[in-house]
Symmetry: C2
Subunit: 434 residues, 2 copies
């Protein structure tokens, strides 16, 4: 008889499973497979076993909470009581948190088993998760490929079945990019919607905590624990953006984007291209990056002085600090224009469809600078955005589509993503980690 693949159960199924066996199974997978993936920077097996036993008792008593016994990983810039909140920075290796972040409390209250801490790009200022202090996380769909970032450990661990879901953070795309590159689902909520105490900020104005999971239903379950759900509004009109259509993207990304467009039309929705001549995607992304780098220079000044930041990160912080007044003013203008354009599109349309990234996961060491060109606008406009798998490229690497909605429209995004996902049918578990 084949072993039951507990890491393939959905959150709904996990709530009726043997919680102790589930956590042991995930701990075993982490022990066996993470040396290859390098997604975890900290695992708390003892605490996880205690929590799993309590979950098992509640399940036995028929009192299972929404995430009962569900093993969840947490990005290393979010406080978990007793663990170091490194934010991927060497100088914070011993920054032990003395309480849980609010989002972690919410997950525990819903029954989740917080199983370990996940690697990230240094300070979240970048998207390769090739971390000079905590190691290079691999993409489970292609060894030697980046898992994206900055929440690269979250994306890789969820995709490879080393946790059932994870939290990441998203400043310019850092939940959605690793969701795209690892072929899983990621949600960046509306700016300010989720409590952010206990987060090491990269950029207060742009940061959002968000979940990653292996299905839309699981993503919705984790999000519901973080933000009990509003009702969803009827949906009729989808916009695509002419600036996106004209942007360079890999053929597989364009195929997936076109396929998603046709799928939505087939579902009976009107999909229209909106002309967005004033939208400067690259300029907006660069402006957000500079703002983040400037804030990082202040946030991590102490670690830098004591040699606890890498040369590469130092150079990025300097790039932000050295930006001229003219550059900053141009950046603010680009961001203001982008936000205004996106808000305007969302007065005539209910949702915007675009690719998540212009490319699939690239080889480590070969990062293009366009990764966040399609994601940053949601952060800058303060809007929720969801990434879902939409296809694979010729090498079998996932590519993804993204839905951006109005502020507070997460339940609608989740419902639409579920319908679209049924048609695209693009989610695949990575064969090398089965």
């Amino acid at each position: 008889m084949a072993e039951i693949a507990l890491h393939r159960l959905s959150i709904a199924e996990l709530r009726a499973a043997d919680a102790v066996a589930v956590t042991e199974h995930y701990l075993d997978r982490i022990a066996r497979l993470d040396p290859r993936l390098r997604a975890f920077t900290h695992v708390d097996a003892d605490r996880a076993r205690v929590d799993a036993a309590w979950s098992a008792a509640l399940i036995d008593r028929g009192e299972a909470r929404p995430l009962e016994g569900v093993p969840i990983g947490i990005k290393a810039n979010i406080d978990v009581d007793g663990w170091p909140t490194t934010a991927g920075v060497e100088g914070r290796r011993d920054a032990i948190a003395t309480s849980d972040a609010a989002v972690v409390r919410l997950l525990r209250d819903a029954g989740a088993v917080i199983i370990g801490q996940l690697n990230m790009h240094e300070a979240a200022l970048g998207a390769t998760t090739d971390n000079p202090a905590f190691g290079r996380t691999e993409n489970p769909h292609g060894s030697g490929r980046t898992p994206g970032g900055s929440s690269g450990g979250s994306g890789a661990a969820v995709a490879a079945g080393l946790c059932a879901a994870a939290l990441g953070t998203d400043t310019l795309g850092s939940v959605r990019i690793p969701a795209a590159f690892n072929g899983v689902y990621g949600l960046k909520p509306t700016n300010g919607l989720l409590p952010d105490d206990g987060l090491v900020f990269l950029c207060r104005r742009l940061d959002s905590i968000g979940p990653l999971a292996r299905s839309v239903a699981d993503l919705g379950a984790v999000f519901a624990a973080l933000s009990p759900g509003a009702a969803t509004s009827p949906l009729g009109r989808v916009a695509t953006l002419s600036s996106v259509d004209g942007h360079e993207m890999e053929p597989a990304v364009r195929t997936a984007y076109t396929a998603a467009t046709m799928a939505l039309r087939g579902l009976g929705l009107v999909v229209e291209t909106v002309a967005t001549p004033g939208l400067d995607l690259a300029g907006t992304r660069l402006a957000g990056f500079i703002e983040s780098a400037r804030e990082a220079a202040a946030t991590f000044a102490a670690e830098r002085r004591s040699g606890g930041t890498s040369g590469q990160f130092n150079a990025l912080m300097d790039f932000g600090s050295d930006a001229s007044a003219a550059t900053l003013a141009a950046g603010e203008a680009a961001m203001a224009d982008a936000a205004e354009i996106l808000h305007r599109v969302l007065t005539s349309h209910d949702v915007v469809l675009l690719p998540t990234t212009p490319q699939a996961a690239f080889a480590h060491g070969r990062a293009p600078n366009t990764q966040a060109d399609f994601t940053a606008i949601a952060n800058i406009a303060g809007l929720p955005a969801l990434s879902l798998p939409a296809g694979v490229d010729a090498d079998g690497l996932p590519v993804a589509a993204q839905l951006i909605g109005r502020a507070g429209s997460e339940p609608m995004l989740l419902e639409l993503a579920a319908r679209l996902d049924t048609i695209l049918d693009a989610y695949r578990f990575p064969a090398d980690f089965a």
Copy 2:
């Protein structure tokens, strides 16, 4: 006030238009634009004007027939009384037909104005319409590009608005390939469905006469005049073929194919990939080509003896005649297998979706040998197949999707194509011929 673009009217609209003005408009366009396109080999303005005047009278009397006053072009291998049926062969330049082919009679009975004869690949044995005797037809979407073939004049003239619809013939793809390359709609009916007297056959077993038009509705209107319509059966399951998925195709073709798949799913149809390990697409196409070349060697023996065939065509006929018994046996086996596989797929599924061609229109002189790899199986299995525009490549050249149905399922194919077409929204009139 802008000139009314009579060449943009649908067949339904033409039936209520000024038939004399319509035919004059089309004659004027042929005179102005065909020197650039070289789609027509013969134009009969006098006869067209007489027919148009009669159509105008019937429209005035409220007695318009289904194709009343609709200017239609006829491929040069189909008899039109008083015109040379050249079949694109120099040696048939003076082969004047003494009566209309049955399909031409049907069109005239429905009110069509038969406006001219259209260039084709020499003897229909090839798909570039670079004819040594009658000239090289251009693709209206890209000068210097092939219009495909063998019905290349039909595809180019319809696309460029030099006739409202056209007849072509299809042995291994010769209606669908020019439909694909010129971005219009083409239907190869079930083998044997339409009367074929008055046709210069290329391969009796594989030939079908079929229409090309600028919309699914127009295509259906012409087809209905040729074969009054059966009712359509409910549709549930669409197959794609693993042999097609694994076949090389240009990125834009794969994008369009994927988009069509998602569009059909969105429409609520089940789309499933059927494993077709025994299906040899290239071998089947080659076998059909050899059979056609052998038959052509017999059909055009007299013209060849008198020097009325080109050196290139002679070489192709010799290639067929020289095929060994082993090659012929292997070809028959490949064709039998392909037909059996396609018939088997169509017991579990109602329709097969595949691209029409693996590529967009190539430059004249650079023909790949894979053009008919996706089309020949319908001829060999005797099944109806419809090509519709599904996208454009980076150069703006059209690419197409193809639907193959069970024998006699043309009304269903037309209905499904209409629904799919609404979603794909890929038809574009060529800008250079507006």
